[in-house]
Symmetry: C2
Subunit: 281 residues, 2 copies
């Protein structure tokens, strides 16, 4: 059987992975959901034809979304996660005993149900008693919140389809309002390389920096996302990701495979062309 | 016309780029050489079926091979480049007026001739009067040198085919001998992600660190190489890439699109899984 899943990074560049067997394919109210078993990457989750995660390298994305803010402010107690139906961010957050509440607003219950059943590597902590799942639109959910969270993590799909609202000025404004005075907003920030992704990264940065007094961008090597060069946003009401980096993180004994404290500082050092992209708007 | 060039990263993962038109395809004494025009990446050079460079992102690789050592030791005068027939490393080196001599040992004259003709973006400085091209095997060339170079850059193909000898202990030992007391060795160091590349990176690091008192590894985001996560080696007889970073580099006014001084420090901060790979040998 010669079965390949292909993602087009542009219409002229594509990445393909060989599929051992399809696990499940369904249409939810919001999107098409496919789960496959692959030879090189273990099980993979695909939404609307875009690869969301592979078991081989999901740790990179989920660690970088979570441990960067947690190492800056170890006092984080109340967390809101938007999207993240696969559970990977939740798994990383539950490693911190200091976190008291994790609200998760995921629009698509079917993603959560399927990940619980078929992707236990990421969905293993969704039943933690601190986790409260709201099957709601993230934009609407955050609109009603005021001064409630220390950290908001936006683990969205791309800025089209169900994830589109999570890239708007209105949404970032609502996140600002929902955050306490030490609040941090982390978001997946697309890639600087292929033209459409780069444009989305540029627009996103401009919107966030028009609302938050501090808005920085960091990067990771994510081999199964387009170009392998992925960006994340760190925005806050004042906390700086490097100047305010806590000296205590290593003492927590949290096990990571990508994140470490030197990398924390290094990942904010962006290539010149990426800095120019983000600043020329 | 629907023409695609495909590179298999493993037998179960592949990357494909759409070709506008083939420019030239020849077999040299050493390898098969193909040059294509692509839609998304401009002109591309392929050796033995492996993508060597694209006009869109070759600056990343060539800047990271060159400016990292030059910013550590601005006194570099005599440079040996091994491989690098496309001329990209030479182009970056010739930006430094302080460099007096650039010897280049490239085994395959046909690569140089074709790049001069079809890839002027990289091959534009091969006629600089400081450049001396020796069409010789790199291993043999360096064997006869003693205490002659401030910098050796090994811009080789992968550790099989014509580039194989350039990954041996014997070769690294000869490089050590050919370097002066402040000498630096830079080499392309494969990738930490796909299993065969990771094994090559691990072996290479072990060989280099058994010979050089200082052996570090740094990384860059190279979207058209396997996984997009590429490693480079920095080995020296004593100079440290961060502690000895010169404060004067920015004053040279050298134009770069990827490299900058903050990134210089950041790129040595490796992910935990990469550090473990390199240290567990």
């Amino acid at each position: 059987m010669d079965l390949w899943f292909t993602e087009y990074y542009t219409k002229n560049a594509r990445f393909s992975i060989k599929i051992d067997k399809p696990v499940i394919s369904l249409n939810s109210e919001f999107q098409r959901i496919d789960i496959f078993d692959s030879y090189a990457f273990g099980r993979v989750l695909v939404l609307d034809g875009y690869l969301m995660l592979t078991e081989k390298d999901e740790f990179i994305y989920h660690e970088m979304m979570t441990h960067i803010p947690m190492a800056v402010n170890p006092e984080i107690r109340d967390v809101l996660v938007i999207g993240a139906g696969d559970g990977g961010v939740i798994r990383e957050l539950t490693k911190y005993e200091t976190i008291k509440r994790i609200d998760m607003a995921e629009i698509d219950k079917l993603v959560v149900d399927l990940c619980k059943k078929y992707l236990p590597q990421t969905a293993c902590k969704l039943d933690d008693p601190r986790v409260h799942i709201y099957y709601e639109d993230g934009l609407k959910f955050v609109r009603s919140k005021n001064n409630e969270y220390d950290l908001i993590i936006v683990d969205s799909t791309d800025p089209f389809g169900p994830g589109e609202d999570l890239f708007t000025r209105e949404f970032y404004g609502n996140c600002y309002k929902a955050l306490k005075s030490d609040g941090i907003l982390i978001n997946q920030h697309e890639s600087p390389y292929y033209p459409n992704d780069a444009l989305a990264a540029q627009k996103t940065h401009n919107r966030i920096k028009s609302i938050f007094p501090l808005a920085k961008v960091y990067q990771a090597h994510l081999p199964t996302y387009p170009s392998g060069h992925w960006l994340f946003g760190f925005a806050s009401k004042g906390l700086d990701p490097i100047d305010d980096l806590s000296s205590n993180w290593s003492m927590l004994g949290i096990n990571t495979r990508y994140y470490n404290k030197e990398l924390h500082k290094g990942c904010f050092a962006l290539p010149t062309y990426v800095k120019e992209l983000l600043n020329n708007a």
